[in-house]
């Protein structure tokens, strides 16, 4: 019985040593695993930081702002607005008219009618703009706008020759003037009505 007890104690003692040893090994392995994971995490973090864009907003230059308009300037710009609208719609109708004519979606007669109407509109716009009295600060802009309307009128006159001689190359000849005019109108429009065409 004693022997059995002693054997049991020895076995228990051995088991305890083994368990202790095993626990130590387990702890070491666990420690190594944790260390490894921390290492991987640190490496990944440092990589992500180096790859991500540096959000260093370089904004040394202040946003340009338009100086406040004087009451006289405001009145001039407001008075030009309805004329501007008429001119732009007319230009759009003739531009799209030519495109749709070329794709056989608009008749020759309809294109002619649009161009005749445009001539009336441009004539009215020219008279209207000349009647406006701009302040000195905006005189140059008025001249740009007037020049644009003149170019548009000349462009339509050239294009309408196709209805007399049937040659569609008049549209091609007329085009540079209307393109230049549209650039000028956009330039003045952008200055007078900065939010006219908001982000789309």
């Amino acid at each position: 019985m004693e022997v059995g007890r002693s054997t049991a104690e020895t076995m228990l003692s051995r088991a305890s040593v083994l368990l202790h040893l095993w626990m130590t090994r387990k702890m070491i392995a666990l420690g190594l695993l944790v260390l490894g994971l921390v290492g991987v995490l640190a490496l990944a973090t440092s990589r992500e930081i180096s790859r991500a864009p540096t959000l260093a907003a370089v904004t040394p230059i202040a946003r340009p702002t338009r100086p406040a308009l004087s009451p006289v300037e405001e009145v001039f710009i407001q008075s030009l607005w309805p004329i501007h609208g008429e001119v732009q719609r007319s230009l759009m109708r003739t531009s799209l008219g030519q495109i749709l004519y070329k794709t056989n979606d608009l008749s020759r007669a309809d294109l002619k009618a649009r161009m005749e109407q445009a001539l009336v509109t441009y004539g009215r716009a020219e008279t209207g703009i000349r009647a406006l009295e701009p302040p000195t600060s905006l005189r140059n802009d008025r001249e740009i706008y007037l020049d644009a309307v003149r170019l548009l009128r000349e462009s339509v006159v050239e294009a309408m020759k196709m209805f007399k001689d049937g040659r569609e190359d008049h549209l091609v000849t007329a085009y540079p003037k209307s393109q230049e005019a549209s650039d000028k109108i956009r330039e003045v429009g952008g200055k007078f009505w900065p939010n006219e065409f908001p982000p789309n």
Partner: protein, 397 residues
């Protein structure tokens, strides 16, 4: 007697067989009709493509040559209210900076196709106080190692001014635009103003009753069918038409093997169109403002409402999911204004860099065809910068 019975049975069998075939035909027709019957009631026939048809396009494209693709940032809208970008998230009550992306697609033979053409200079930039980083597209192409002279095609996702603006910079390139896009502008230019004070017709109208200005500062123009197309932009399209360099498309159109236009009518504008591109990472689908937001496609949120019909935008999202279903799924949808573009958050665009002397504009290499050399610099500059200085403008009377 037995023979008689056999004869009757044979005749009855034949009748049953013929009847069966007939009804099979009817069923087959029903099946086909069901496929086409997926077309929602308000989708134009030329704007509809069934899932099966799109998958056939994938199969065809996979036999085509592989293309390379990049995007460049034509400009950047700064401080845009979040609700104006993704209405579903308006409650975030914050602002975002939105790139205006242009796609660059290279054929196996080195020819370039642009998807959209960015802003035109002049007044948009001159007095637009909330923009950054504009640079001419020709300069951008050169700076990232492409020859602008090799641009042979420009596919316009839609014709708004910030996406169709530099056409005249490429006199030899052929422009692709949907007829529907042009017809709708023309239609609404004529729209009566009697009962809507010009809010539908727009383009700088005056209230017929009060004489008050419609448009800025009321911003009526932002939501109407005509708005977004200044005469200058339409003029540039006209220039292409008159010089024989425009293809007015009606619906789906295969430009070249592996390069296919898909209609997305009212996904943003009436004549919006997508571009499917066959690449080594599967089908890329460029979407302009129909795919304004990539996170919007991922999370099924409507974005950049403007003239958008929300269900049409979702149907267009679905087209990307179908076309890219074999590889990468929505990761292959290329968005025009995604704020996470040029970061790791939009993985397709993660390989980005600042364009040298590009006024803070950025470029990203999306995918290279096998054997092609990268355009990413050896040490890419990835320091995000902002420059709101307007570029020079020189219009004189």
């Amino acid at each position: 007697m037995i023979q008689k019975l056999l004869r009757i049975t044979t005749i009855l069998g034949l009748i049953a067989l013929v009847g069966g075939l007939g009804s099979a035909d009817v069923l087959r027709a029903d099946d086909d009709r069901d496929r086409d019957g997926q077309r929602p009631p308000q989708v134009l026939p030329s704007g509809f493509e069934s899932t099966d048809r799109l998958l056939r396009d994938v199969e065809r494209a996979e036999r085509a040559p592989l293309y390379s693709a990049w995007i460049v940032e034509s400009s950047r809208f700064m401080d845009v209210p979040f609700g104006g970008f993704q209405p579903d998230k308006a409650s975030l009550n914050t602002t975002v900076n939105l790139p205006v992306n242009v796609g660059i697609i290279e054929d196996p033979d080195g020819k370039l196709t642009l998807y959209d053409s960015g802003w035109k200079q002049l007044a948009y930039i001159f007095d637009w106080n909330s923009s950054c980083c504009w640079k001419g597209i020709r300069d951008q192409l050169t700076a990232i190692g492409h020859d602008p002279a090799k641009v042979t095609r420009i596919v316009l996702g839609h014709a708004h001014w910030d996406h169709a603006g530099q056409l005249s910079e490429f006199p030899n390139a052929v422009v692709y635009i949907q007829k529907e896009e042009l017809k709708q502008i023309d239609f609404f230019l004529h729209y009566p103003v009697d009962f809507n004070a010009g809010h539908i017709r727009a383009v700088n109208t005056v209230d017929p009753l009060t004489g008050a200005q419609v448009g800025p500062p009321a911003q009526a123009c932002a939501r109407t069918p005509v708005c977004g197309y200044p005469p200058q932009t339409v003029q540039e399209i006209l220039g292409k038409v008159l010089s024989g360099k425009a293809k007015i498309v009606d619906g789906r159109h295969e430009i070249a093997s592996g390069l296919v236009i898909h209609p997305a009518f009212r996904g943003h504008t009436y004549g919006s169109q997508l571009l499917q591109v066959n690449t080594a990472r599967g089908q890329l689908v460029f979407g302009s403002d129909t795919y304004s937001s990539w996170t919007g496609i991922r999370d099924w949120l409507v974005a950049n409402i403007q003239q958008t019909d929300t269900i049409q935008q979702f149907l267009a999202y679905e087209k990307c999911y179908v076309l890219a279903s074999r590889l990468n799924s929505f990761h292959n949808c290329v968005a025009a204004h995604e704020p996470t573009a040029y970061t790791n958050d939009y993985p397709l665009t993660a390989n980005w860099w600042n364009i040298p002397n590009g006024n803070c504009s950025r470029a990203a290499e999306l995918i290279l065809a096998p054997g092609k050399t990268t355009h990413v610099p050896a040490s890419p500059n990835k320091v995000l910068c902002v420059n709101r200085t307007p570029p020079p403008h020189t219009v004189t009377p």
